[in-house]
């Protein structure tokens, strides 16, 4: 898991600036988690699959972006005069979509044959997929990683005493846009079909909804969102590129998913933001207690919060309670 903020040499813990800076860092991390959790919940709602390969999808999406941008130079090579941010964004979109297609492929090849099998077997199957995909990406990306060569670099903006990297400003915009898109998607024809499938697969089928296609779309969207999260997790200030560490972002997002409730998209966003903010806050305010809590506590605070919340609400904050009838 990743450090939320570059640690300042002298931080006055009680100042408002520190708090605001923490808030920005927490939002930046939280939105990444929210994207991951949203994709995860989309997949879970539509197909009932817990996707432990989400980390691999994160790395794959970001890796495709790196390839499209640097190796293929698409579409930059055809648009010589275009501004860099435009060509890069288009390339990134292409790479992320390619990552989404990998999700679609995975569903077709590995998840579809398992429809109707015990859910925990499918969950473990995705653990196996995760191992395979991550190893292959590791091998290609190498240990030192591949840069994504984004046009914003390490530039930062200052608002008062709060520093925000340009990349994070872009990130906030993109995530907001994607959230609106997902919300609108659920109101579209396909989105309604997906909600019907999540409600009852057989009934949805009886209505003429192609459940198989819905499965594919949900995996495509899930992988796509994971890829976007992967892009923002592998550029400044989080990392210098896609590497074997990129996939571990997903482990930070699992608590967010459970916290919000496995089957709630709104919960995924809220859970993601809570966990992101908590990690950020812990990495600033709890460092002084590291003799008690141990170093690196911020990396696991998400799981601690998750356990505490589950004690009170076993289905997360927004999850639907499973009603057991005889």
């Amino acid at each position: 898991m990743i450090d939320t903020l570059p640690v300042l040499a002298q931080t006055d813990l009680s100042s408002l600036d520190t708090f605001l800076q923490m808030l920005v860092g927490g939002l930046a991390l939280g939105t990444i988690y929210a994207l991951l959790a949203m994709g995860f919940v989309l997949i879970f709602k539509a197909t009932q699959v817990i996707n432990f390969a989400h980390g691999a999808l994160v790395a794959i999406g970001a890796f495709f972006v790196a390839i499209v941008v640097l190796d293929f130079e698409i579409p930059g090579r055809w648009m010589p005069g275009a501004p860099e941010w435009l060509t890069w964004s288009l390339a990134a979109a292409l790479g992320v979509v390619a990552g989404g297609l990998i999700g679609l492929l995975l569903e077709r090849l590995f998840i579809r044959p398992m429809v109707g099998e015990p859910l925990f077997q499918i969950a473990i199957l995705t653990v196996g997929l995760d191992i395979v995909l991550r190893t292959i990406v590791d091998d290609i990306a190498g240990l030192d990683g591949r840069p994504l060569a984004d046009p914003w670099g390490i530039a930062t903006a200052r608002f008062g005493n709060v520093t925000i990297p340009h990349t994070q400003l872009v990130q906030f915009g993109v995530v907001l846009f994607l959230m609106i898109v997902v919300a609108l998607f659920f109101r579209s024809r396909t989105g309604i079909a997906m909600r019907a499938t999540a409600w009852d697969q057989e009934a949805a089928r009886a209505q003429g909804i192609k459940v198989g296609r819905i499965f594919g779309i949900s995996w495509f969207l899930g992988a796509l969102l994971a890829g976007v999260a992967g892009v923002f997790a592998s550029i400044f200030p989080r990392a210098a590129g896609v590497s074997s560490a990129t996939a571990f972002v997903a482990f930070g997002a699992f608590p967010a998913i459970i916290l919000g409730g496995l089957d709630s998209v709104v919960g995924a966003v809220v859970g993601g933001l809570i966990i992101g903010l908590a990690e950020s806050a812990a990495s600033i305010y709890l460092v002084q207690f590291s003799s008690v809590l141990g170093s690196g506590f911020s990396a696991i605070i998400g799981y601690v919060i998750m356990l505490l919340v589950l004690l009170i609400r076993p289905y997360g904050l927004f999850g639907t309670e499973e009603i057991r009838r005889v």
Binding site: L125, D138, L262, G296, L307
Partner: protein, 411 residues
Amino acid sequence: MRGRPLLHTSYVSDQAIFNSGTKKVLVGLFLLILALMPLGVIPGLKWAATNSWMRVFGEVAVLLIAALGLNILTGLAGQVSLGHAFFMGIGAYTAAILGGPEGPLWGLGLPIWVWLPAAGAVAALVGVVIAPTSLRVRGLYLAIVTLGLVFIGEHLFRNFDFITGGSQSGRTFPPLELKLWKEEAPIVSFQTDGSWFGIELSSQAKMFYLLVAFAIVASLLAKNIQRSRAGRAFQSIRDRDIAAEITGVDEFRYKTLAFAISSGYAGVAGALFAAFVSRTIPEAFGLPLSVEVIAIVLIGGAGIVSGMVLGSLFVIVLPLIVQNLTEWLSDLARSGEGIVQSIADFFVATGTFDFGLISSLPGSSPGLNVFQFNQVLYGLLIVGFIIFEPLGLYGIWVRIRNYWKGWPFTY
């Protein structure tokens, strides 16, 4: 009276551990092979008596114990846990505190008959304490909650560096030797070469015997748990929890019991694992270990004790076979001739710009290195077994058995 095979006229004979003659013969044969293997007297298995292979089989025995524990929780009671490594860690560090050498890190230097049962007991206790939290959540929530357990556990292990030595150096674990109390010379030491009953044995062979003995005890215990009232309760919860409750199975109580037994097994396995490798870092008890144990359970055949034996053999030994095969193939690719060399070349890259699925060169080159290839293979095996053979290796064995049962007819 000798009846028709598989004709059971009483529950006792139906529920017996060896309810058919074939099982008795096969298990007997297997035990005989285990007993003779380290001596290097079995034709065709002489290679297994070498130190490196003895070590591998020792590891198989340790992970078998861990898998038997998870099998009770996942295979019998149907609760998915990714937290097995955490309980193994608890067992290992309990053993370290009680039996570890006295020094800068905590260690009381007590003998094995103290630290091994204690490791199991403490891990089981931690399991009981944690179970209520975990059992409030159902099904797949549990998988992620136990995932959290592994991460929190790793954090604790890393930070209790006065016990664990921290991630940098790790710590030394208690030796595998039998002592009465803290005296200097152990009664039986499993970690020095020497002769037993006039037979020269290496330390690896001695540890192999010890660990296999533990594994046999653990297997018998697991088999008996499965046949007991509790075991039947576990299976009824797995198959239909509501129906189980209606027939009088206290779901919460039996889930907690399954959790406790499973963590107890994990504790013992963790302690033996730590003592076996003798020195390790806290990160050894992380998610990959959990996944390895789950892989053994699924590949072997969830819910079946003999499947665990097959599974642990398969999961531990396969990477070594791949490694040896790679070495053999890269030799062929370098020095072979004709078609043999071409085939070997396809699989193994020997030059920097050479194509090959596996690269035998260090550093970056096209193709995966042996470790990565093993990882990919391992992942694919998990995927493949779940898709094609959900009953695991045991399922394959059942199919072979049924084929020969009806032979030459197909049914």
